[in-house]
């Protein structure tokens, strides 16, 4: 650990001695490398987490973007006030609205891949 610290200090001393255009070039190089590393990490996360599958902002998904539900803005629920019957009623109403909204979507329960839907004879 001490050796690493000493090396870091030596490197910093070396950097401090760099002046003028060289210093600017070094700074730009570090900034570009850092940006590339961060972009690479985010691209890996984008792929690994599966968000790329849900990214409807990609070209060719114009129609799907229009099909996205215009969700009502989320009501902020006060987290500090006392618990009252009215506050619980407000909560229950909001929860019921959200639950009903969920029922609008297909929920993958349709038989879209069934033989009948695809017009295939049974196995």
């Amino acid at each position: 650990m001490k050796a690493v610290t000493a090396k870091m200090r030596a490197l910093l001393r070396h950097v401090n001695h760099i002046t003028g255009e060289k210093r600017l070039n070094l700074a730009l190089g570090i900034a570009i490398t850092a940006a590339l590393v961060l972009v690479s990490i985010s691209m890996v996360m984008y792929q690994v987490t599966g968000y790329n599958k849900l990214d409807l902002s990609r070209p060719g998904f114009e129609k799907e973007r229009q099909d996205l539900a215009k969700a009502a803005p989320q009501k902020t629920y006060d987290t500090n006030s006392p618990i009252t019957l009215e506050s619980l009623d407000e909560f229950l109403t909001e929860l019921a609205t959200r639950s009903n909204d969920l029922k609008i979507y297909s929920r993958f329960g349709d038989n879209s891949l069934g033989d009948e839907e695809l017009g295939l004879p049974p196995r």
Binding site: K53, D78, S112, L118
Partner: protein, 181 residues
Amino acid sequence: MKRFLFGFSIILLSAVVLASPSVLAQEAISPARLMAISAKCDDLHFTLQKLQRSDAVSRTNMGREYENILDQLKALSDRLENNKINNAQFDALREELKSTIDAFRAAYIEYDNTLTSLRQIDCKTKPADFDLALQRTHGLRATIHAQTVTAEGIIARYREEVQKFRGELERLNKAAQAVKP
């Protein structure tokens, strides 16, 4: 004799291992179905492409609703905690819902990957492979649906718990008012 038996067992075991699921599945598929898959190959690919796109929309919409619901449950939990009220039963249900939503997300990714692979199979030349992948994709779609049903059930239980708590609070309020001179 022992050597012969050992060699025979190895060959038998290899045959079982090497028999790919697609080969085994081919035996179970009727020729009429294989012919229909080959004949309708273009239509099937078009249907699957449309389905994949509409599913992405459903997944996005549902994911957003689930996030909103989780935020709302967290807000109630925080409010109960700030009022020094035991929120353990609500927190347990929220955690259960969170796990189910995570499972829903994972199931969707697996389904979507399988659907992408299914779309890459040439069903004109490989109808049996296509059918096998289709069955698998169908099963994964059912898994996603099962997760949505589970999530719905948890949300319903949460609502019941809140209603129960509300009833208790109302009873306590009435009792407090009755005591007042």
